[in-house]
Subunit: 400 residues, 2 copies
């Protein structure tokens, strides 16, 4: 009996791969600060929970494959706040942004087709690519350049007859880079020149710092036919567990074909969609406060990490991640060490090693992704663990 | 810009394809009896809704990729009632049985690999096969043989080096056939001989009629290494909208690899899993009553259809579907006619044309799948619509 090559070809997500060690640590009585996963400690807006508590259907029935009509009709009002012109007909509600990415891959690409992506990138995209048998073609963005868009010629060089799309995430997971209007325009012009799609994952849309303005790909109406926007309620309203996202496109053919995939899986989860409807009624002040809180955390953790000997930090401007380069040989080994062999006063941290955030072999080996999803008190303790952990690792493992 | 071949190669699910016509009918003021989709009118157990109403997490957070631990630990007790030995470690909670099927396909098959399946089969499987680029290889089961298992030699003939698994659904959607212990044993022996997997979709496990005993594939412990069971809460507890299912296997390698796919999509929806936990506490009398109700409906609709001139009905022993052969030229055309051009006192029915439930070209053209998920009063009216609709179609469209 054989497993498929497509599935043996890839490893578990590095975001979750070390979870068994984290559970072991907890069993040993060690407290683990989870910087490995984008699970905010921010409260879900209370009216979301209230809407769940008021759920009173007598049958939890199949809904529309396109998503709850109420939700599809409410979303355009949300986009309108950002000056974006989206119709309910442009929206396919998905089971998380994850499903929207999968639908986009399946809709645009056949096996062995290619998607061009700046690396480091959100590593779970690799799993979606492997299962769709799509090859990711990387363009490396560099820490010393703030992980900004590599020169457009680097993208153009990689376009072949097999290229289905370029995929971006803005604000970026894992680098925190927020793509500028000019960067996006350059990419769109390139996509037009070569007649390919641009997919942009904007699930962190609200999380832009330093007064930086966010440019949504949906604002480029003249290119709307080649744009697919991936969206999600998860981070925005701290409701990751609901798994409600959306695929948004003005291209009718894309939606029509993606709908086939949606119909096969019948519908997104019903109660969670009711929760999502309530989330859209959240007062704008909630998102303002959440953004300020993350900005405070970003400032705090970037400063704390920069103070540690030999640690380099990217220049995160959005989302709630950063990539840090550590004075070590192997970030996966370090992350494992932190869970298995280390504690500082009964505490340790879990980070995501970055090697799997790169397609290019050998890159990111000394980098980790840190999700600053904890309050600053916890971040202070986590930073202290990292500092002490680095010392311990360098002496005990690297023999320095 | 090109869409993928894999997605242009298949049509929308026939179960949902005609929905726009149904909406038009409703707009014209015509009441539509939905016999096209397995959406029961049975109430969800009240404690499921109560559990939702008591959901009081302050953050709807990511859960384990494997599923809520409480749910994984409660499920073995459910299986134990049927004498089945399942550990929580054997269970991957999925977003519907649909996701379990997709995980199974992706885990076992590379593009152009094959899965052997008795036809007619649950047509959405074709969409999963198309998106995974897996070829379905049919073995035709026949109405005149009660859609029982075709001779085992028919399966053996079709096994090649590309065969990853045989896929069954028992009780069967759409035929209502319940595979016997002997049929399952023959298939397992064949799978062992050729070292392939057997996947069995048992989401209708409880719905067996005429006192017929159900044999779960999970009871064949000596073959457990090559068995994948697909399960779901949808039909059992009338909570289709929650999208909670499971992939169950004793094969550690299967689970380990399927977990990679599960980790990429992060977790199943959280609130719906809480609902599923409550569903498992449902008193056995609920399922007994539901089974009796469906048996009554089965008896009613089979009798009503058999009375209509020229209609042949399969011999459904389980699930809540039947395949009927109608005295017409084209079931899709008939189904569309019923929605667009027909009503009986302001009422009509929507049925699922069966051609897409077959891989073999040309089969099922005169067949429809009928889901008897309505109460007998509504079924009586639906049957009257079918009878009058057939007359009208034969005269107006076929010129008979």
């Amino acid at each position: 009996m054989q497993m498929s090559n497509r599935i043996t070809a890839f490893q578990c997500s590095p975001i979750r791969r070390l979870s068994p060690y984290a559970r072991d640590a907890v069993r040993r009585g060690v407290k683990v600060y989870h910087l490995n996963i984008g699970q905010p400690d921010i409260k879900t807006p209370p009216q979301v929970i209230e809407a769940v508590q008021q759920y009173d259907h007598s049958i939890i029935a199949y809904g529309n494959s396109e998503g709850l009509q109420e939700l599809r009709e409410a979303l355009p009002l949300y986009y309108k706040k950002y000056g974006l012109n989206v119709d309910s007909e442009d929206i396919l509600v998905t089971t998380g942004g994850s499903e929207a990415l999968q639908f986009a891959f399946m809709t645009l690409c056949d096996p062995y087709d290619e998607i061009i992506i700046p690396e480091p990138y959100y590593t779970n995209v690799a799993s979606f690519a492997h299962s769709a048998m799509v090859n990711l073609v990387p363009v490396t963005s560099k820490m010393e350049e703030g992980f900004s868009l590599p020169d457009i010629s680097e993208f153009e060089k990689r376009i072949t007859r097999k290229t289905g799309a370029i995929l971006l995430c803005s604000p970026n997971n894992p680098t925190g880079h927020v793509y500028t209007k000019d960067e996006l325009l350059q990419l769109l012009q390139l996509c037009e020149k070569h007649d390919i799609f641009l997919i942009v994952d904007e699930v962190y849309r609200e999380f832009c710092y330093d007064g930086k303005e966010f440019t949504s790909i949906l604002s480029f109406e003249e290119f709307s036919d080649r744009i697919i926007c991936v969206d999600s309620f998860s981070k925005r309203y701290s409701m990751c567990g609901s798994r409600i996202g959306a695929l948004v496109s003005k291209n009718k053919e894309v939606l029509e074909h993606a709908l086939k995939l949606a119909q096969a899986r019948l519908c997104p989860p019903d109660i969670e969609q009711v929760a999502a409807c309530a989330a859209l009624k959240t007062d704008d002040s909630y998102l303002c406060e959440v953004r300020s809180e993350y900005e405070r955390r970003r400032d705090f953790i970037v400063n704390a990490l920069k103070k540690i000997d030999g640690v380099k930090v990217g220049n995160p401007k959005g989302a709630f991640y950063l990539v840090a380069e550590l004075p070590i040989d192997d970030a996966e080994r370090f992350a494992t060490f932190m869970l298995q062999d280390f504690d500082l006063n009964g505490e340790t941290v879990m980070v995501a090693p970055c090697e799997d955030f790169y397609v290019t072999e050998g890159l990111g080996r000394r980098q980790v992704r840190i999700a600053y999803v904890l309050n600053t008190d916890d971040l202070a303790k986590a930073a202290a663990c990292i500092e002490a952990g680095l010392k311990a690792y360098r002496s005990q493992v690297m023999g320095l």
